[in-house]
């Protein structure tokens, strides 16, 4: 068994082994301070904006940030977690690498939740942290923390720079690793001495790292097998994730769907990769997804997974998941293949390249009878759930009707950024999207407090688009300090608090699975209008349905940031729902 890999290893080693160390051939180097080299590297990587917070160990770099403020914008956040989420929002809206910067010790540890979120949701980030002088490492110096070890399991790569001369090469590599292949967060820890020493600076972008294969070359045989299986399928189903968006493969994906005539359902991270009105789109998968795609996953005969990773929230219990189907998995990260669901054919590679290869080998097809099943189950869901969600018989406002009005008033062109909980599921279920990179949500980690900073980042990444943050009364109070950033940097985000005076999703579980014992889920909330006023942000509270549309219209007409608080039904539940531990086909409508 060692044989195959040893020969591969030889190839890797023989393949320009020396190249890495010789990457930087000094041509016309200039003498620079380490701190200035850091900023020069960012500029060379076309970084336009970064999010951060100064402190002792990163001060030399901030001194340079000040000098270069015309070339690179720095957004001062109010807490480093906000910087990390803002960088995520920026990256996911713009498709570029998000950059955040913090000091050592608490500055660095405050980034951790955002980095973990970026890791599990494959968001390209470069996080720069200051570190104590290299001679103080390991001495429990003031604000020393071993952020490299702390961040190791939640970064795609990390590295501690202790000499100024390492800066250009390591940062070049950081950007390459963050954005190539399956993207992810990279953390670079830079000791203070490295920032204040001089180096001979020359910058060359990194194009390969020889211990790391960003994009595996697809196997033609796998592509042929996949196409052959698709051609014989009677009831095929496509389940797609963020891989379509990360691979910038939206067009290739659409062509594949249109030629194959296969219904397609999105994971939470895949939503907006295709227009929700597209005839092949059959809705969202997962615990609170749509009824038809969940149920029919267990009836389909071929399951084509595209750039998704079979999260447990998508699959329900694996014991019964898609057991009638041959499974084809198109995935860039080999470690995701066969991890949760055994596959028949794995097509490893960037879906941007593999999808067209498959598309050209499949027959043009249509599956009208199969689509009719989706329509029939969709009607059941509409009659039992959606109709009442959108037109509640009660006086109290429902979350879905707010989202529906947002669709109407933005022509479904806005970027929707959510927090985590019931409002998130309402937004993912009911928001309509006409363009990609329009839903920014914490899918894998489920990080409350994500919305406000991520919305800031999204707006700065796409200033041309309307950005709407949908947040609960619980989540808004995590990272609410970022209202200060919105104020200072004048970021035009529209924030809608869907206030049910509960930690709604936990309350829903308590109602369904814990005999309504509402342990620590009742929220007493601040006066959000006074709070917004303190930050000089316009704010209105709405509790009556007849005021809702006008209030939303005023919000969208307003120049600048806006906080709209909507009082919604206190004990509404999000349905349908796959109860934890049950099968996708056991999804309940009520």
């Amino acid at each position: 068994m060692f044989r195959a890999e040893n020969s591969t290893l030889k190839q890797i080693i023989n393949n320009n082994w020396q190249q890495i160390d010789d990457e930087i051939v000094a041509e016309k180097s200039i003498k620079l301070l380490g701190a200035e080299a850091i900023i020069k590297c960012l500029i060379a990587e076309d970084v336009e904006i970064m999010f951060g917070y100064p402190g002792g160990a990163i001060m030399p770099t901030y001194d340079i940030i000040h000098q270069y403020q015309q070339q690179i914008k720095h957004i001062l956040v109010r807490h480093e977690q906000g910087a990390a989420h803002a960088a995520q929002g920026y990256a996911r809206a713009s498709g570029k690498v998000g950059v955040c910067i913090a000091t050592s010790g608490p500055g660095a540890t405050n980034l951790i939740t955002g980095i973990a979120d970026a890791q599990i949701d494959s968001t390209p980030l470069v996080c720069i942290t200051g570190q104590v002088h290299k001679d103080l490492l390991g001495t429990d110096a003031f604000q020393e923390t071993d952020i490299i070890d702390i961040s190791m399991p939640i970064t795609k790569w990390n590295y501690k720079i202790t000499e100024a001369s390492e800066i250009p090469k390591v940062l070049a590599r950081a950007f390459y690793i963050a954005k190539s292949g399956r993207p992810g967060p990279v953390l670079i820890d830079i000791t203070k001495n490295a920032q204040i020493e001089f180096l001979d600076f020359t910058y060359k972008k990194c194009k390969q790292v020889n211990s790391y294969l960003a994009e595996p070359t697809p196997r033609l045989q796998a592509i042929k097998e996949a196409a052959a299986i698709i051609n014989t399928a009677q009831k095929p189903l496509v389940v797609f994730g963020q891989g379509v968006i990360l691979g910038k493969a939206e067009a290739e994906f659409k062509s594949f769907l249109e030629k194959s005539g296969i219904p397609a359902a999105a994971t939470i991270m895949g939503i907006s990769a295709i227009d929700n009105q597209h005839p092949n789109y059959v809705g969202m998968l997962g615990m609170h997804g749509n009824y038809a795609p969940n149920l029919l996953t267990n009836e389909c005969d071929v399951l084509i997974a595209i750039g998704m990773r079979f999260d447990d929230r998508v699959t329900g219990t694996l014991d019964t998941y898609a057991k009638n189907a041959k499974v084809i998995h198109l995935e860039i990260d080999d470690s995701e293949v066969n991890k949760n669901v055994p596959v028949d054919v794995a097509v490893i590679g960037n879906v941007k390249h593999t999808l067209p290869q498959i598309t050209k080998r499949i027959n043009s097809n249509q599956h009208p009878d199969w689509f009719a099943k989706f329509a029939a189950l969709g009607k059941q869901e509409f009659d039992t759930v959606i109709k009442h969600d959108l037109n509640p018989s009660k006086d109290e406002i429902s979350m879905p009707e707010v989202i529906n009005l947002v669709n109407e008033l933005t022509d479904s062109q806005a970027i929707i950024v959510t927090d985590v909980g019931q409002h998130q599921m309402a937004a993912c279920r009911y928001a309509q999207f006409k363009q990609s990179r329009s839903l920014i949500t914490s899918g894998g980690l489920g990080t409350m407090g994500f919305c406000i900073p991520a919305a800031m980042g999204a707006k700065l990444g796409r200033p041309d688009r309307t950005v709407v943050g949908i947040v609960g009364d619980g989540g808004v109070q995590m990272n609410i300090q970022e209202l200060g950033t919105i104020m200072q940097s004048e970021i035009d985000v529209k924030i809608i608090i869907l206030n049910n005076e509960f930690l709604g999703m936990v309350r829903q579980w308590q109602e369904l699975y814990f005999d309504k014992r509402y342990a620590s889920t009742v929220m007493s909330n601040p006066n959000y209008q006074k709070l917004a006023e303190a930050y000089d942000i316009a704010s209105v509270k709405v509790s009556q349905r007849e005021q809702l549309k006008t209030a939303l219209q005023s919000m969208f007409a307003h120049q600048g940031a806006y906080l709209l608080e909507v009082m919604v039904g206190q004990e509404n539940n999000i349905f349908p729902m796959i109860s934890p531990g049950t099968s996708v086909s056991d999804m309940r409508l009520k």
Partner: protein, 166 residues
């Protein structure tokens, strides 16, 4: 779901020599609370490339998953695993016994001969014996020496090499 059979697996992991890479590798195991039975690190025939020999007891499903998750690490060049039938393994053990038993007790000589062990150092107080072999072989010597009083004992993890030629 049926419980999968657990077996001993030997992994060969290759990386460049980078501070922290061992933590990246071990965190893949500790994340799922899987104990590493033995670990050996040494430079390979290729300068600057290090080989980690890792022994774990787990299921085939998990070893496959772990191997991919380790190989995915940016600084890891290659990660593979094998079952015992596909590799040649060796361990080394060192035994420190009182020199008095070497002098007084003729049987210790027979034991050392029978086990094909080597004497590395003789001191007035103690003698250090070396034995290479599989674990059961080094253990057999341990068991025979134990009645005479073992002052100190250490055994390396196995290092292994693939049987197939390339």
């Amino acid at each position: 779901m049926t419980e999968e059979l657990e077996k001993d697996y030997t992994m060969a992991l290759f990386s460049r020599n980078r501070a922290g890479i061992l933590n990246r590798i071990t965190s893949v195991f500790s994340r799922i609370k899987l104990n590493i039975d033995s670990l050996n690190v040494s430079e390979t025939e290729n300068q600057g490339v290090y080989r980690y020999s890792v022994r774990v007891h787990t299921t085939e499903k998990l070893i496959r998953r772990i191997t991919k998750q380790i190989e995915k690490q940016v600084d890891v060049l290659k990660a593979v695993f094998a079952t015992d039938d596909l590799i040649v393994q060796q361990e080394v053990a060192l035994y420190k016994i009182p020199s008095s038993v070497m002098i007084d007790d003729i049987q210790t000589e027979d034991i050392i001969r029978a086990h094909n062990a080597k004497i590395l150092r003789i001191h007035r107080e103690y003698t250090v014996i070396e034995k290479t072999g599989h674990k059961h072989e080094t253990q057999a010597l341990f068991d025979e020496l134990q009645p005479y009083g073992i002052l100190e004992f250490v055994r390396s993890g196995p290092i292994s090499i693939g049987k197939l030629n390339y």
